[in-house]
């Protein structure tokens, strides 16, 4: 396969894609945990807000959400900047992409974390409180470690979907792997070569992810008796 010198550019794009995916995952985890806690909270307002968040995001195409947040966000930021007398605030496409994907997948992770939180036996949390632990300590010492085990399958699924969703960020101008492939394809007039190449790279990332996440799940399931058939 003659890449005509664009191989390095494509690999560079891979790092951007992975950077976007991992940073978005971290952000999505934050949004997801916040959303899950809001959904399970005593406050009706918080529960309602979280429901609006997840319902809205899951009812709309990712591409439309991305375009809306990107262009709408720019316009909002611009208006805010004008009101405060500031000059143009440049939002780099990387930040825009990460914020958007993180925000979107936070909604999906809300459901994952909510299920995981509910799966931690109530008795353990009660016992922890009875021992006098503060809510923060209960969260850190009892809930989170067990949360991870229950959340890993949902987390893994969302990661795999997210890696593929990062391809859409090229549409709002991020210089990622798909964008580089587009440029290479236009320059060399060989779109098939480059798109199949990046498809292969995505497949490799998926494969490695599945292997690593499977190992992670095994690690966190140590000591848990699995059902035997």
């Amino acid at each position: 396969m003659d890449l005509q010198g664009y191989g390095a550019a494509i690999v560079g794009g891979l790092w951007v894609t992975l950077a976007v995916a991992t940073t978005s995952l971290a952000l999505a985890a934050v949004f997801g945990l916040a959303g899950a806690l809001a959904k399970l909270s005593a406050s009706r307002a918080l529960r309602w807000a979280a429901t609006v968040y997840t319902t809205l995001i899951r009812s709309l195409p990712e591409l439309v959400l991305m375009l809306a947040i990107f262009y709408g966000g720019q316009a909002l930021l611009n208006r805010a900047g004008l009101a405060l007398g500031l000059d143009y605030i440049d939002v780099p496409p990387f930040a825009a992409g990460v914020l958007t994907i993180g925000f979107i997948f936070g909604a999906y992770l809300t459901e994952t974390f909510r299920g995981a939180i509910l799966a931690v036996p109530r008795g353990q949390l009660e016992a922890a409180r009875a021992f006098g632990m503060r809510p923060g300590q209960v969260l850190r010492r009892v809930m989170l470690p067990q949360l991870v085990r229950h959340a890993v399958p949902g987390f893994a699924n969302n990661w795999l979907v997210m890696v593929k969703a990062t391809a859409l960020v090229s549409i709002i101008g991020l210089d990622d792997m798909v964008h580089r492939a587009n440029l290479a394809a236009a320059a060399t007039r060989e779109p098939f070569t480059f798109f199949v190449l990046i498809a292969g790279i995505y497949l490799a990332v998926t494969t490695v992810s599945i292997a690593l996440l499977g190992a992670l799940e095994k690690r966190y399931s140590l000591g848990v008796k699995a059902v035997s058939f």
């Binding site: 809205l56 009812s59 709309l60 195409p61 990712e62 591409l63 439309v64 375009l67 809306a68 262009y71 709408g72 316009a75 795999l160 593929k164 969703a165 391809a167 859409l168 090229s170 549409i171 798909v178 492939a181 587009n182 394809a185 007039r189 060989e190 779109p191 098939f192 070569t193 798109f195 199949v196 990046i198 498809a199 995505y202 497949l203 998926t206 494969t207």
Partner: protein
């Protein structure tokens, strides 16, 4: 505050875009449904030569982004002079054909896995009983295994259908004028993100609502046996006949 004139002006375009979105959804779904049933049967087969190729197919198409698959179909194949000279070119030069091809192959892969999973989840007793009755081959599948599997797959399949409807927005990147493309044009011409993307969001939201509602109705009909039971008062104990 919201420029309703712009929205009113762009409604015909949005309506046309909606038509495009629905048409693409229907043709891709139909193809996917038709292809995935036999493929799912092959996927669960104990014969490696049947199941392995299908596994590879679903692995590749679920492991790569739909956007890239679409680009390969639309831009990639056009690279080959052999194709451009052949009788297939009038098909491949059309954005509709390429979009249908990419979306169908993609949804078939996901649906095949969903149906395969549902087939594998067939209670062992059902299959045993059917075999004990002498059912085999396609009759076994058509009468017992498939109806059960399709019902079991309904919730997950409904997710896939909604996901596919959302994915049609990606077709806007290869010159199909769907709802998303109309929204982007309205934004480009009027610089009103709320009016442009808000209208599109409303349309997609409504579509999602309708699809989810339709599947809920289907679940109520075909998964009735899994609905929560309403408690009934215990039958009165007859007094002992004296």
């Amino acid at each position: 505050m919201i420029d309703t004139a712009v929205i009113a002006e762009s409604l015909p375009a949005f309506a046309q875009g909606l038509r495009v979105c629905l048409l693409l959804l229907v043709i891709s779904l139909t193809t996917g449904l038709v292809l995935s049933v036999p493929l799912a049967m092959a996927r669960v087969s104990s014969r490696r030569w049947l199941s392995a190729p299908v596994w590879l197919y679903t692995y590749v198409f679920r492991g790569t982004p739909l956007l890239v698959q679409l680009f390969i179909a639309y831009y990639g194949f056009a690279q080959f002079d052999a194709l451009r000279q052949s009788a297939l070119w009038p098909l491949f030069r059309e954005a509709w054909f390429c979009a249908w091809l990419a979306f169908s192959l993609n949804t078939t892969a996901y649906t095949t896995e969903i149906f395969a999973g549902a087939l594998k989840a067939t209670p062992a007793g059902e299959a045993e009983a059917a075999r004990a009755y002498g059912l085999a081959g396609w009759r076994l599948y058509a009468r017992i295994l498939l109806p059960g599997a399709l019902r079991r797959a309904l919730p997950q399949y409904s997710n896939e259908v909604v996901g596919l409807m959302h994915a049609t927005a990606i077709a806007s990147t290869v010159s199909l004028v769907d709802v998303t493309r109309v929204a982007r044009d309205v934004y480009a011409n009027h610089l009103l993100p709320v009016e442009a993307f808000g209208t599109a969001a409303l349309i997609y939201f409504t579509l999602t609502f309708v699809l989810v509602g339709a599947f809920k109705l289907m679940e109520r009909r075909w998964l009735q046996h899994l609905q929560p039971q309403r408690a009934t008062a215990p039958a009165p104990v007859p007094a002992h006949a004296a």
